[in-house]
Structure formats: C-alpha cells, structure tokens
Amino acid sequence: MSDGSTRSDGGVQSDRHEPELTRGPFQRWVQKSIKDPKRVYRAMFYVATLFFLVTTLFPFYFLLVLAVTPDTGSLAVLPQLSTLEFGVFLDVFDRINFLRYMLNSVVLALSTTAIVLFLASLAGYVFGRLEFPGRQPLMLLILAISYFPPAAFFVPLYQLFTGNVVNGLSLYNTPGAMILPFSSLFMPLSIFILTTFYGQIPDGLEDAARVEGTTRLGALFRVIVPLSAPGVATAGVLTFIAVYNEFFFSQLMNNGQPENWAPIVGGLLSLQRAGQFEVTYGVMAAGSIIAVIPVAILVVVAQEKIVSGLTSGALKE
C-alpha cells in the first residue's frame, strides 16, 4: 500500500495533509475512507451481508444442531462431531406417520395449485384481455377478499364442512375441507399475476390462433397460456408455497390425524404435544428440518420466479 510509505520521517512527502504522524491501522483506514467514501460503503456492504446471512441462517443451524445433539442439556453452538447422532431423522418417521403428513401436505398443495391455476387462468384472461362492464368492480371485489383474516371465514366454513349447513355434506377430515378454502383464499394473488402476464401477450397472436383454427378457449390454452409459461410457473410456485405453509385451515379443518389428511402442521403439533410428556426436542427439530426440505429446494430452483411473482403480483394490486 502506497500509503504506508507516506509515513514521512521528516517531511519527505508533505503533499498529503496528514494531521498526525502516529496512526494505527484503524485510523489509517478511517483516513483513507474519508478520502474515498466508496471504501466505507463497501465495508458496510460486507458487514451487512454477513449480518443478514448469519441472522437468516442461524435458526436453521440451531435446528440442525438441536436435532443431532442427543442430550439437549449439552447443547453447544459448535458441537463436537463425535457426539452427534443422525438417527433422530429416522426417529421422526418411527414416532409418528410423518411421511403421511408430508405426503398430505404435498397432495393438498398440488391439488390446490392445479385448481387455482385453472380458475385463475380463465379469470386472468378475462381481466387481462377483455373489455367489459364491471371489470374494475369485480377486480376490487376479488382484492377485498385478501383484506379479511382467515378467521372471518372460519365459523361458517367449519359449520358447512361438518355438515351443519347442507345435510350430508361433510368435508371435515377430507382434503376438500382444506383445498376449497386454500383455493379461494390464494386464488386472488394468482389472478393478479396472470392478469399481468396474459395482458402482455399481443392481440395479434390470439387473433392469429383463432384464424388458424382454434376456438376462443383454444387460443387461451394453446397460445396465451404457453406463451405466459413464466407467469404461470410463478403463480404456481407461489400458490404451492402458500398452501404448504398455511396454518389456519390446515390446523382447524381436520382432527390432526394423518389418515384424516392433516398436513405437516398436524404432524409437528403432535410432536410438540408429545414433548410435554417426554423430552422430544431433537425429534421436533428434525421434523421441522424435514418439513422445510421441499420448499427449500423450491426456493433454490425457482427463486427468480418467486421474486418476479411477489413483486408483479403484489405491486399490481
């Protein structure tokens, strides 16, 4: 560093206005930074990045350490590798039917995503490409749904699904009791995302498809939807994550048993309840890690879609 040589012993270099001769490395750094503020920004940037990495990832690390430390009393931030036991991940599956909970979650999320994408495609096409009276009010009506807390839908839906509204119609403890509320509550976001994407397809392409021989509906599914594949994927990924992560109806629309289609919420809560009688923290942590794996993979694979979807969908609204 050339600055080191400027520690002039006897005014060899006096073109730099240095107030003092004796400085430690930190003061030197400060001195240089004042001359070149970019260095400060750069340093701040690295500190901030490191800070965010640590804070966001630490809880996951904590889960992992907790899971593989057999004796929770000896939990340490840097555990000794020799004492770790990875068998706990298998315990999760032995103790409860965790696989079934996971499967339930995935099935519920996939079915909801399919329903939402189909219905939102039709609606997104209408809002994005057609001019008709009532367009604006209907969009506002859909938007209004997202302002209500799930709790505001809960009591009537619970009564409906337990067969107290329509006799013989009992969906409680079936996938329908969750898929229906998920679909209607998560559909608005997909509608807004798809409205944006479908609206951007040039009119000429739809006309061309119809002249070439598709019906109006055919033009939607053969041309507009394939052309909007990134948007459809975005809406799909966001819906999947939203359903997989949902808590309210996932917990309240079944009795928490895996054979009654309870998703991972049920699984983890039953591990937690079991924890009140015997110490099962390691198993709870291991279960949590396993439950995160599907969405973690999705985030790594589809992060661009998530980013674009969140921003386009949310900012459009």
Partner: protein, 335 residues
C-alpha cells in the same frame, strides 16, 4: 402448392354434435357474455367459500352467544359489537378485548392491544431491515444468487416450522437462550427475558415479533428491491453529473421514487400481521398471547359463536382502518 383439399372440407375431427354446439354457442357470445362465462367458475368458488362465509359470519355476529343446546341465541343486532368494544363482554371472553387496566401486563393480555403492538413493532423493523437487505441485494457481487436464497428461505418455510424454531429456541429446558434462575443466560442477565419466556405474555409477544421479522422481512426486501431496480439508471447519471454524492443520490433519487413501493409493501405486511395466528399458536399458544385471530378461535372453542364472529369482523374492520390510513397517506404522498 397443393390444392386438393379445400379448407372447408378439411378432415374436421368428426361431427360431435353436443361438443360442436357448445363450441359454436361459446364462439357466438359477445365479449361481455364471454367474460362473465369464464369468470363463473372462479366466482362460484369465491362465492361459496369466501363471500358466503363472510356474509354468514356477519349475520352470526348479530346473534347472542348461546350456552344451551342451540348454536346461537337471540338476534341482538349490533349488541355483540357494543359489548365487545366497550369491554363489557371481556369477563366472559377467554382473553379481554381491550386492556382492563393501564398496566403493561394488561396491555399484553388484551387481544386488541397485543395485536397492535405486534403489528406496529414487527412492521417497523421489517421495513427498516428490509430496506437494508434490498440495498444489499441491489449490488452486483459474486454469490448474490445465494445470498438472495438465504434471505428468501425464511419467508418460504411453513408457519408451523417458524413457530417451532422459536418455540425450541426459547425453551427453558434447552438452555440455550434461556437459563434458569440459578444459571441465567445472557438475555436473562440483561433483564430482557424471564426464565419462562413462552409462558409470559410480554416475552412471548416479543419472541413472536422477532420470529415474524425473521420470516417476513424478505418479502419487504423483495418488494423494495423491485422498486429500486425499476428506477431508470439514467437518473443516477444525471444526479452524478449534477455532483450528488452517493448519500444525496439515495436521498433525492432512490428514496422518493421507491417510497410508494415501500408504502405498498408496508400495507401488505400490516394486513398480514394483523391476522397473526399460527405463529403464536405454535410458539406460545393462544392463551398466552391472545391476538385477535387467536381470540376468534378461542371464543369459538368456548362455543361463543356470536362473539367469535363479531371479533372476526372487528378484526376485518380494524384492518380496513389500517388500509385506509395507508391509502390516505399514499394519496397525500402522491400529491
């Protein structure tokens, strides 16, 4: 060019009578009719699973709680609303709606107060931290993709896992952040945390806030980032030519342009935070931290259907108030 087949006689795939007539009926609808036809499935679903429950909840909120065989009691109009908002019903509710005294303890026991505390503090920190995260992600650097994954990851995990993480972190038995009275941990020594934080309303609320900030700051960051990246980079060149420092460029270019985006992001987060339920249920249970949504469920479990419906609608109304505050601010800011 082959001219053997005329298009009219092209091998159409058979005369499927019903299918053909449905298709021709659909093709001949006017644009408006077609629009409404395609909206029908979505609105049937929304009608049955969203609009009907809302109306039904509203209707339910006008009936008194029943403690007998019937599911609801007499029609009392807005009686439930009056009773709950004035605090008259508080004694009967699992947790009071309004604080019953002006003490910290009473505030953290009140559904309304605790929800507002939770919302204001968590949205405040999410905005600040999200802003800084967005600034970080706005830079070009190696490994940006992975930093972004790390930041998004908490947002993408199930609420129950989020709750589980913070439940475990603050378990006294695990002895990591929480010590015992004999062997206090760092946070206990600072007096920030009791030794049984998950059973203490104030501590549990703070833990829920930390958990919420941890999980949803990414959402804020991504929205703000999108706002930053939509700024015309040419504006920065103009500012540089005009002699603005990096801080001035941020203050006079970046900040005013993304302010509306930040407002929208805050609005979204506020709506979500006001309905917090799952996190609290997993971390501490609804009895310790009685958020409004928690109160809906606990009153329902106590078979107080009228009160439950009323609280649900009051929650929606409070959200509506918050939304209008933002909209007014947004419109003012836009002028």
């Amino acid at each position: 060019m082959s001219t053997e087949h005329r298009t009219g006689d092209a091998p159409e795939s058979g005369d499927r009578g019903l299918y053909a007539s449905v298709v021709s009926w659909m093709e001949n609808l006017s644009e408006t009719q077609y629009a409404y036809l395609l909206l029908t499935p979505a609105f049937l679903l929304l009608g049955a699973i969203a609009f009907w429950p809302l109306l039904s909840t509203f209707r339910l909120s006008m009936f008194a709680d029943s403690f007998g065989q019937a599911s609801v009691g007499n029609f009392i109009g807005l009686g439930n609303y009056v009773a709950i908002i004035t605090g008259e019903r508080s004694a009967l509710l699992p947790s009071p709606f309004l604080p019953e005294a002006l003490t910290t303890r009473a505030f953290f026991n009140s559904a309304l107060a605790v929800t507002v505390i939770f919302t204001v503090i968590s949205v405040f920190f999410e905005t600040i931290i999200g802003f800084v995260q967005a600034l970080v992600l706005d830079q070009e650097f190696r490994g940006r993709r992975w930093v972004r994954v790390a930041i998004i990851l908490p947002w993408a995990i199930p609420i129950v896992v989020q709750g589980m993480i913070f439940y475990l972190m603050f378990q006294p038995n695990i002895g990591f952040l929480v010590g015992t009275s004999d062997n206090p941990a760092f946070l206990n020594q600072l007096g920030l945390l009791s030794t049984t934080p998950l059973a203490n309303a104030q501590d549990a609320t703070m833990i829920a806030i930390v958990a919420d900030v941890w999980k949803t700051t990414a959402f804020m960051a991504l929205l703000i980032l999108a706002g930053m990246q939509s700024i015309d980079r040419g504006l920065y060149d103009v500012a540089k030519v005009a002699g603005a420092s990096a801080w001035q460029r941020f203050k006079y270019v970046t900040f005013p342009i993304i302010l509306p985006t930040v407002m929208v992001a805050m609005l979204f987060r506020t709506i979500q935070a006001m309905r917090v339920y799952g996190l609290i249920e997993t971390v501490s249970g609804c009895t310790t931290v009685p958020s409004l949504s928690c109160l809906v469920v606990t009153t329902f479990n106590n078979r107080m259907l009228g009160s439950s419906a009323t609280i649900a609608f009051i929650t929606a109304a409070i959200i509506a108030v918050a939304v209008s505050v933002y909209i007014v601010g947004y419109v003012r800011g836009g002028q």
